[in-house]
Symmetry: C2
Subunit: 238 residues, 2 copies
DNA sequence: CGACGCCTTGACCCCAGTCAAGTGTGGTGG
DNA sequence: CCACCACACTTGACTGGGGTCAAGGCGTCG
């Protein structure tokens, strides 16, 4: 079940990033079936998956959640009119697919390759941690998406990614511009233009399309509207 | 602790809807302290609170969560630069304040009056239900906020509120235009204009500022980009 | 090599932000 | 009882940011 809507939306959606993913998913279906015991994790099943692999589809029955071992996962929601809202990106150690009953969004691998661990519900301590993790991620997303200007959104997006990937200056951006656009509520063109703008202003560098180096963290923070933690930009009246 | 940021932001924020709330909160502080045993709920403490009452502040230590018994609660996050992002509205039966460690947002009563129930963490079945409830609400918010046009956002906002309040046609809108604007990432003027537009087009009626009647649910759904559930707007190619 | 996807850049225009003024409405004090 | 004010909301005029349409670069695959 659950897939017919995806097909409909694919037909209607001009960009249709999931269509390719869907085809790849079909091809790699059985590949997904057998879990790869890569590094002999303790009793849990870890899967290898290539870019474009769909982990689960919107409206599929939800039985397990997943943890990202390596790579990046993108979860997205397809509207009936074909528009797409990317609900989040998941990096190493983060959890996705925490829905109850049916998955409300689809999950897709956006990095070249990814390892994900299936986790069953039942251990209440673990379950609660997972839910809290998911909640935190989504709440963070709201603070990103609610911003006014494209510049502020992109800046906040980069700042968020930097803190989550734990990288000092280099940020991997395996997702496509369309993914970022659908996440931040912008268009591909605006995303591209804004990146170019940040590069021109020497706030970031971009040796490859999918790799960003943060040059001026402070000014990026300022654009993101977070201020420098050590030097709050607000002076209260006497 | 936690309140100094609020004060700072108050000084900087032109609209500063929390400033009034803050003053009211001070005045009604002791009122809040003693829980009112209104209808003798089973062993849980229910409080009455008037409009503007702040339940908790951003960065306050988080020990309990809350359930709305009656009225409407608004949770919002204040940025260092004074901007405000409303993270959600909570109606009867919904849960807020599910943060761990410290509250990441402030919670305020926006209806004329509200009853809220304090709930301690510990009952894992209950805890998990609460977390799932919160997660669902926040994920829904993302689908609202990510929309492109103001018309689409307002329409989706109304459709969402209608389904959550369980009301057939009449929707209570106790929150201010500023709250709605800060929720959807718009300005008060745009919110006001959009409501007027919907009224002119006879999609809704608005006998009072804080009450909306949905006249044409189908067209509202269409604007919201959800289509009519019985008649999907997408035709798949053969 | 050409076809295709993805990304970038440019030109144009419209939606929504900004500034400013006007309209209730409730509260306070004379 | 009315004058006055404070506040929330509405409406208008103007402008700029970003959506839209279109063209062009660039790497990958067949």
């Amino acid at each position: 079940m659950g897939s017919f809507r995806l097909e409909d939306a694919r037909a209607a959606n001009r960009a249709a990033p999931l269509s390719k993913a869907r085809r790849k998913a079909d091809a790699a279906a059985d590949y997904l079936q057998n879990s790869m015991a890569c590094k002999a994790e303790i009793g849990s099943s870890i899967r290898n998956a290539a870019k474009g692999t769909v982990i689960y589809c919107q409206d599929d029955p939800a039985s397990v959640r997943y943890e990202v071992v390596s790579g990046v996962i993108c979860t997205s929601y397809l509207f009936a009119d074909g528009r797409r809202q990317v609900t989040g990106f998941c990096f190493k150690g983060e959890v996705f697919g925490t829905d109850h009953g049916f998955y409300k969004s689809s999950a897709e691998v956006v990095s070249e390759t990814a390892q994900i661990r299936r986790i069953r519900w039942g251990d209440s301590a673990d379950d609660e941690r997972a839910l809290n993790n998911a909640l935190e991620l989504v709440e963070n997303s709201i603070l990103l998406i609610g911003r006014r200007t494209a510049l502020s959104r992109i800046a906040a997006f980069l700042v968020d990614l930097r803190s989550r990937t734990g990288n000092a200056h280099w940020i991997p951006l395996p997702m496509s511009r369309a993914d970022i656009a659908d996440y931040l509520g912008l268009t591909v063109e605006t995303v591209s233009r804004t990146f170019s703008q940040l590069i021109r202003k020497r706030l970031i560098a971009q040796p490859k399309h999918h790799l960003v180096r943060i040059i001026d963290q402070d000014r990026l923070n300022a654009l993101a509207g977070m201020g420098s933690d050590t030097n709050p930009p607000i002076t209260s009246e006497p």
